[in-house]
């Protein structure tokens, strides 16, 4: 781990952390899926979480978003400790996530999928529904207008009245991101947003993620495609065997023998040696 310390971490030098985890561990019946992961996710940047299969990336995303509890360690959103808070409370602090395998709300329309997202809807209370219908209607209209804009941005507008389960795989990927965006997140955890997506759509999704950064959203994305990481991610966290192996810029990590051995190895060999 000596090389790790030598790396200049953007998180420590230039930016405050939007999300921080310290010594997170999680074991499944003795298998340590996450084993002391610790890192800062710098605010306002796109950070990639990379690592070989089985490194614990998805488990970590589940823990960070509150879908799963950790055995030990601490998690902070900004200054607030959120260790093992349930996911709805984490979400209310502005952390939204997407899922590796798209999980659309199949029986709802595409528009309704987005309309579920806004927090604090008056229409979710029985009293408001029955006694303040005008307020509920106004809020619904405002949310619907914004949702239609988001759908337009993500190219889903023509599908607004389709049931979400009728969408194609790529469209579901877009819907996942659009739905999270609709909730006005401060931090977005994207679990393999490009997995199983054709190259043209990868470009589009990459563009959307860059746009989100411009609007001030902090992004942490699990990604295997190093081309994508190189071109849109500002900062990289390498996870191996449940531990943070290294953090830094991809160019810096390429110099790191341990990282190369654990993950980048084949790619660099393929690009240079042969």
């Amino acid at each position: 781990m000596s090389e790790t310390g030598a790396l200049v971490s953007i998180a420590q030098t230039e930016r405050a952390a939007a999300l921080r985890c310290e010594g997170i561990t999680k074991a499944f019946q003795g298998v340590h899926a996450v084993n002391g992961a610790a890192f800062d996710v710098p605010r306002g940047l796109i950070t990639a979480l990379i690592g070989p299969n089985g490194a614990g990336k998805t488990t970590l995303v589940n823990i960070l978003s509150g879908a799963m509890s950790c055995d030990s360690g601490r998690e902070f959103i900004g200054e607030t400790e959120v260790t093992n808070r349930p996911s709805y409370k984490v979400a209310r602090l502005g952390l939204m996530r997407t899922f590796q395998l798209s999980r659309e709300l199949g029986g709802l329309t595409v528009l309704e999928n987005l309309l579920v997202a806004p927090a604090q809807q008056a229409g979710e209370s029985i009293v408001s529904v029955l006694f303040r219908p005008a307020l509920v209607r106004r809020q619904e209209r405002e949310h619907a207008e914004r949702a239609l804009q988001v759908l337009e941005t993500y190219g889903l507008y023509p599908l607004r009245d389709n049931r979400a389960r009728e969408l194609s795989g790529g469209q579901k990927k877009l819907l996942e991101i659009a739905r999270a965006v609709m909730a006005s997140p401060k931090i977005l955890l994207l679990d393999e947003p490009m997995a199983g997506v054709n190259p043209a759509l990868i470009e589009r999704i990459g563009g959307y993620i860059l746009d989100l950064r411009s609007s001030g959203v902090t992004v942490l994305m699990v990604e295997h495609n190093l081309n994508v990481v190189e071109q849109i991610c500002d900062y990289v966290i390498v996870l191996a065997e449940g531990r943070t192996l290294a953090t830094g810029r991809l160019s810096e990590l390429r110099e790191n023998a341990e990282v190369v051995k654990a993950y980048l190895g084949e790619v660099i060999d393929a690009g240079t040696a042969h």
């Binding site: 978003s65 997202a117 229409g123 509920v136």
Partner: protein
């Protein structure tokens, strides 16, 4: 003849109410409440004991005996079912979902059944409650024959009122959040929805409907005992819901008409088959089962399926954009390919 027709009308509207209650729990929120008839019974019993005078004078054994007038007793009966639902939900909903919740609930309904059937001091045991005062009968001078049409109409009015409220609730963002939880509770939680709290709300609303339905049942017949709510009755309400179309309140009316009125109650008025007393009654339930299987096979969405909530229904302009949506960024900004 009038008696028969209005009895059918009464059961139609009561099952409309019952199905709406189960619909918000199962059709909208996905809570597989196999103890539903238990909540109906709680509503019925409590409506009864709120209405009956003190048990010292009636020769029956029961709690309370407050002698409250209709509809106060009915409302309290609904609230009693709701309170019971609160207790059940606090214990079960936090930890259990889908199949496991269903198993616990069906067990609970059996326990409740045995309790009411055997513990005489609560609701008169296996004999059940009887001689429950008929609402307004004295005040309006109603006879046995005129009470039935009168009360069928009261029930129809109540059920339409409850349909109005229910359609407001399910059309509101609350209903949408319920359906989001039904479709994927993990996603709903990731979007900041307190799944337990929303499920609790759905459970309470549905149980109130169950309680009111039960209360109307005991007021109509003047009596209620354990043979009226065998745990299998839950599945008749499920049949109403599935045939009508889960997730659609109008569908609940259609389901009640097709299953409860036409299949369950109408044949009871048919002449008996000579030499086989009670055969029709048993054949009824078998028929409900067959219809249920046929529906699930050929039309699982029900006769009146869940409605799609289109863009225009949210009060926004719904015109198609003139051009196909374009990418909001320059694809050239992102050159992917050789990479190295």
């Amino acid at each position: 003849m009038v008696y028969y027709v209005f009895t059918l009308v009464f059961f139609l509207f009561v099952y409309f109410i019952l199905a709406m209650g189960l619909n918000i729990q199962y059709g909208e929120t996905g809570i597989l409440n196999f103890a539903y008839i238990g909540f109906v019974a709680i509503g019925a019993y409590f409506t009864g004991v709120f209405s009956l005078p003190n048990s010292a004078n009636t020769g029956q054994h029961y709690i309370l005996g407050l002698g409250l007038p209709f509809p106060i007793n009915l409302l309290l009966g609904g609230l009693a079912a709701m309170f019971f639902a609160l207790l059940v939900a606090l214990v079960t909903l936090r930890r259990l979902r889908t199949d496991y919740l269903a198993i616990v609930l069906i067990s609970l309904s059996l326990v409740l059944y045995d309790f009411c059937n055997n513990y005489v001091a609560a609701f008169n045991g296996a004999d059940g409650l009887y001689n429950v005062p008929e609402p307004f009968a004295k005040a309006l001078g109603l006879t046995v024959n005129s009470f039935i049409p009168f009360f069928a109409c009261v029930t129809a009015v109540i059920s339409l009122l409850m349909w109005f409220v229910m359609s407001r609730l399910t059309r509101a963002p609350m209903g949408r959040t319920f359906r989001a939880i039904r479709d994927d509770h993990v996603v709903a939680a990731a979007l900041g929805k307190n799944v337990f709290w929303m499920q609790l709300k759905s459970m309470l609303i549905g149980s109130f409907y169950a309680g009111i339905g039960g209360g109307l049942l005991i007021q109509f017949g003047g009596s209620f005992n354990p043979t009226a709510w065998l745990p299998g009755e839950t599945f008749v309400v499920f049949a109403v819901l599935i045939v009508g179309g889960a997730g659609n309140n109008i569908g609940m009316f259609v389901g009640a008409l097709l299953v409860e009125t036409l299949l369950v109650h109408l044949p009871a008025f048919l002449p008996e088959i000579p030499g086989h007393p009670g055969l029709i009654e048993y054949f009824d339930l078998a028929l409900v089962g067959i219809v249920l299987i046929v529906m699930l096979w050929f039309r699982p969405q029900g006769v009146v399926p869940e409605r799609l909530r289109r863009t225009a229904s949210f009060g926004v302009d719904d015109t198609d954009l003139p051009v196909a949506p374009q990418l909001p960024f320059e694809p050239a900004a992102l050159q992917l390919g050789d990479g190295q």
